[in-house]
């Protein structure tokens, strides 16, 4: 064995992320399910909407972010259930890989997964709700990225815990949703301001709390993760 | 002065009833655990909310009591 064959944390994380995404890409069922769920939800919200009471511009941010949380939960659910088959997690734990790298890798894969669902949902909302995003696509993508990092940071950790319990499908949303509120609220507020053409700086104020949340919880969840897979 | 005494009556009653009921539940569970010490065949409890259905394979040692 070559001396110092242990990959560094970041390299290991990227390897793990690639592995997860490769598995996901090969089967694609989870991704399609999440996308179809998101699109269906967008359509249902449309039919539940009274356009004379609320304009598309007012409705869209809320719809977007509610859908992201639930589609995100669908994706997060599969993140660790992948490892249940044949106790694949044991092989992962046996490898000379720092535990934090497993967390980072899984989280990275989840960011890509949830990000891909969002990338399809956002144009869908713009289309179905007749709310042109103007030139704000990039800014909205930025908000979405920051918020997704927060959602995934917390959701990945809880997914690791929930998969070891009897009530995994119930527990993951039950534990995660309170944590999603400080993410969804600033994200929806920022998106609303961006959509209605307000100066980008106004939306930026909301991003501060998003950024703070991301910093605190990515660090906290990364530190907590080894406790969830101790043997 | 508004006539809203009903609200605080309801509140005081609820407070007393809820804390009393909780105290009772702890006491009853303590007795239940004590009963299991005498009747081990009754099965295990668990901490947390409620008791979830047990897995089908019972842990070793259950039933082999004095």
């Amino acid at each position: 064995m070559a001396p110092d064959a242990r990959p560094g944390t970041l390299a290991a994380a990227l390897l793990i992320a690639r592995k997860d995404l490769a598995i996901e890409f090969r089967t694609r069922t989870a991704f399609f399910s999440a996308v179809v769920f998101a699109l269906l939800a967008i359509v249902i919200f449309f039919f539940a909407w009274d356009p004379t009471a609320v304009t598309g511009m007012d409705l869209a941010p809320g719809v977007l972010w509610v859908i992201f949380t639930f589609a995100g939960l669908l994706g997060l659910n599969r993140s660790f259930s992948l490892e249940l088959a044949d106790r694949a997690i044991d092989a992962l734990l046996g490898a000379p890989v720092p535990r934090e790298a497993i967390y980072l890798g899984k989280a990275l894969a989840n960011v890509v997964f949830v990000g891909a669902v969002e990338a399809i949902s956002i144009p869908a909302v713009a289309l179905f709700y007749n709310t042109p995003f103007g030139g704000r696509w990039l800014a909205i993508a930025g908000v979405a990225l920051l918020a997704t990092i927060g959602l995934v940071a917390v959701g990945t950790l809880f997914s690791a815990m929930a998969v070891n319990t009897r009530l995994a499908e119930l527990l993951l949303p039950m534990l995660s949703l309170p944590f999603f509120v400080p993410i969804v609220m600033p994200a929806a507020q920022a998106t609303a301001r961006l959509l209605s053409g307000r100066p980008v700086l106004e939306a930026a104020n909301w991003l501060k709390i998003l950024l703070a949340f991301d910093l605190v919880f990515v660090a906290a969840c990364m530190m907590a993760f080894p406790f969830t897979i101790e043997e | 002065m508004p006539h809203n005494a009903g609200y605080y009556h309801a509140a005081y009653i609820i407070v007393a009833v809820v804390y009393g009921a909780y105290a009772l539940s702890v006491w009853l569970r303590l007795r239940g655990v004590a009963a299991h010490h005498h009747h081990p065949a009754l099965g295990n409890g668990q901490s947390g909310i409620g008791n979830l259905p047990r897995p089908t394979t019972p842990p070793l040692g259950m039933g082999n009591r004095e």
Partner: protein, 241 residues
């Protein structure tokens, strides 16, 4: 094995059996007496508030329950940190007990807050900062207890609960900040919340009595629940062994 709520559960003699049924811990006796005293004082010996009317008397039980609810969660958070650090199951039992008693106090806080809000503010619910925070506290508590109920392995249950306890504590300031930002940017209709003039002495004294009484009640309930936790763990250990 002894419990604190009843003095001796193994009652081999008739006298012991009688003692078991009638023995009650001192904390409990004091708590019940104190709460009863608070009630009597609040109902009969404290003046009515002219503007808010009799419903103002909820004030003696609502913030006191709220204080206990948040304090209990502080205990959960500290015990969780302690458990992850020292791996002592005693700390996990502390967290478990504080959480269960805490959720009861949180529920009472929400209900009494609602009963207070209707006559005083005109609405059963408002997204005011404290009520919202209490609501989230309730959700975190419930999630914590459901998580505990869903894990059979004793050590994993302790570990996972501790992680959730700590993360929940981290969440609280973010919820507080979110609600604050939300409300400053979405000014909610001022629902005629009466300003808090300094309370006359009798009201302050009743409030102080209520504060102390419900804290003692928390301690009594916590101790009982803690002994239940010990008893249960002993039982599970015996069955496993």
């Amino acid at each position: 094995m002894t419990t604190q709520l009843t003095s001796d559960v193994h009652a081999p003699t008739a006298a012991g059996a009688r003692r078991a049924r009638s023995g009650i811990s001192w904390w409990f006796v004091v708590a019940v007496l104190a709460v009863a005293a608070t009630y009597i004082r609040a109902i009969y010996f404290t003046p009515l508030e002219a503007i808010q009317g009799p419903a103002q008397k909820i004030y003696y039980v609502h913030p006191t329950s709220a204080w206990v609810a948040f304090m209990a969660f502080g205990i959960v958070a500290l015990a969780s940190i302690g458990y992850l650090w020292l791996k002592d199951l005693k700390l996990d039992r502390v967290a478990e007990s504080a959480a269960e008693v805490g959720v009861v106090f949180t529920s009472v806080t929400l209900v009494t807050g609602s009963l207070w809000g209707k006559p005083i503010w005109g609405t059963w619910w408002t997204w005011d900062a404290r009520l919202t925070l209490t609501l989230f506290l309730w959700f975190i508590y419930v999630g914590y207890l459901v998580l505990r109920g869903a894990i059979e392995d004793r050590e994993m249950r302790a570990r996972y609960s501790a992680v959730l306890g700590i993360l929940g504590a981290l969440l609280i300031p973010f919820i507080h900040l979110s609600v604050y930002l939300f409300r400053t940017l979405h000014p909610m209709p001022i629902i005629g919340k009466p300003s808090r003039p300094s309370l006359p002495n009798e009201m302050l004294e009743t409030f102080a009595l209520a504060f102390v009484s419900f804290t003692i009640l928390f301690i009594a309930l916590f101790r009982a629940r803690y002994h239940l936790a010990i008893a249960r763990d002993e039982l599970d250990a015996e069955d496993r062994g």
